[in-house]
Symmetry: C2
Subunit: 240 residues, 2 copies
């Protein structure tokens, strides 16, 4: 560990390239090579801000390694975390395409490997490569879909408990698809951050977790969380 980055860069750029392939997959090799020429491989430390909500779009970011927190922020400082982006995710795509300001703020929560593409370069790339353009439309549809789910969760839930249950279920289905018996998931976020994800207060999250533990629905094992009663969690998530 001579530097925060160092050897890591060399290793991850290989895996990174594979990830890019996965996003713009099915593209002819020519298109892929064109993409390779316009991207800038960069590295960010933990806590770096890729872009800020309201900023004019400079370009897009393909996350190769590490996680990025995507959030919106009210004038009074209250923050809503929309999602934690994992490697493979494309960030700032919508703003880059439309030219409107970034809708979100993107901040690294790990040391990150990122491929940056300038807006002009990307737009030119899209004009010249129709297939890639379709992939972009698909990506945007995906993002829209996620946003709709967010709206549903925020707008149609009756209680904070319901939203927390939904969040936990979402995490379990994303993480341990394999382990069917007792899903476990790493609690990488603080109660404060979870509160910001479901639009509630930190104290409420603490109380909700205490309640879930008392009712034997979840169980804490250090920083991992065991889901003991997934059915009950589902009931909470749908009933309110």
């Amino acid at each position: 560990m001579l530097s925060p980055y160092g050897l890591d860069i060399i290793e991850s750029c290989l895996t990174c390239k594979m990830r890019v392939d996965r996003i713009f997959c099915d593209l002819p090799t020519a298109d892929l090579q064109a993409f390779e020429t316009i991207k800038y491989a960069t590295a960010y430390p933990k806590g770096a801000v890729l872009f800020v909500e309201g900023q004019a779009p400079r370009g897009l970011f393909v996350l190769c390694k590490g996680r990025v927190k995507l959030s919106i922020c009210a004038s009074d400082g209250k923050t809503l975390i929309l999602k934690i982006a994992d490697p493979g995710e494309v960030l700032g795509l919508s703003a880059t395409v439309s030219g409107k300001p970034y809708e979100l703020t993107a901040e690294t929560i790990d040391p990150c490997q990122v491929n940056f593409v300038k807006r002009e370069d990307f737009l030119r790339f899209l004009k010249e490569h129709g297939d890639a353009c379709f992939k972009v439309a698909e990506q945007l549809s995906d993002k829209y879909n996620t946003a709709c789910h967010e709206v549903r969760s925020l707008g149609l839930s009756h209680s904070a408990g319901e939203k927390l249950a939904k969040l936990l279920l979402e995490w379990t289905s994303k993480n341990g698809e394999a382990s069917k018996q007792e899903p476990r998931l790493k609690l990488a976020l603080t109660h404060e951050e979870i509160a910001q994800m479901i639009g509630t207060s930190r104290e409420t999250v603490t109380r909700l977790f205490a309640d879930l533990k008392k009712r034997q629905i979840v169980q804490a094992k250090g920083s991992t969380l065991l889901i003991r009663n997934k059915a009950a969690l589902r009931t909470i998530a749908s009933n309110g």
Copy 2:
């Protein structure tokens, strides 16, 4: 008025075509003509359902005349109205592109003129016409943007009053851009529907309006609403 439609159809298809031009504008004439061949001009009465949330995507709908209510619905019947689409809007685009189920339910609230395009036809059209594909990406970015604003409004507001003020401001900025003195807007929705737009109860909306009237911020003139004090409304919208 021999029939609910009748002459209207012939008139509006001309204007309608202009609208389609506006959406896929800048396209070469060849592309436009190709689009004309795959669209089906159709008419719906008030209260018709274009598509339902969760349905497999049959295709997209270009709204030419009339308004369409876009909503999501919880298992308990609680409804959240996301927007009232005006002529020119493309509906079901994201689902058509991604192949995932429609995220929303679309229901006409006027008699409507609509151009329908089948999913397969549209996808083929996109493959063959790269420029149109880019336009689609732009449209999707727009929709994503709107969804983000919805999330912001739902997730970061402290009170129902704040959300109502935001909604009213949004409406005034969309409707009477010209009249700078005292913006007026047609209240085409019931309190119940407004409540569904901001995720609150009907009674709360009634009470909020009563309060705004008492404080001389708005004034009712039949079914039109005068905004007497836009500054105050803005304060409510941002302070909570």
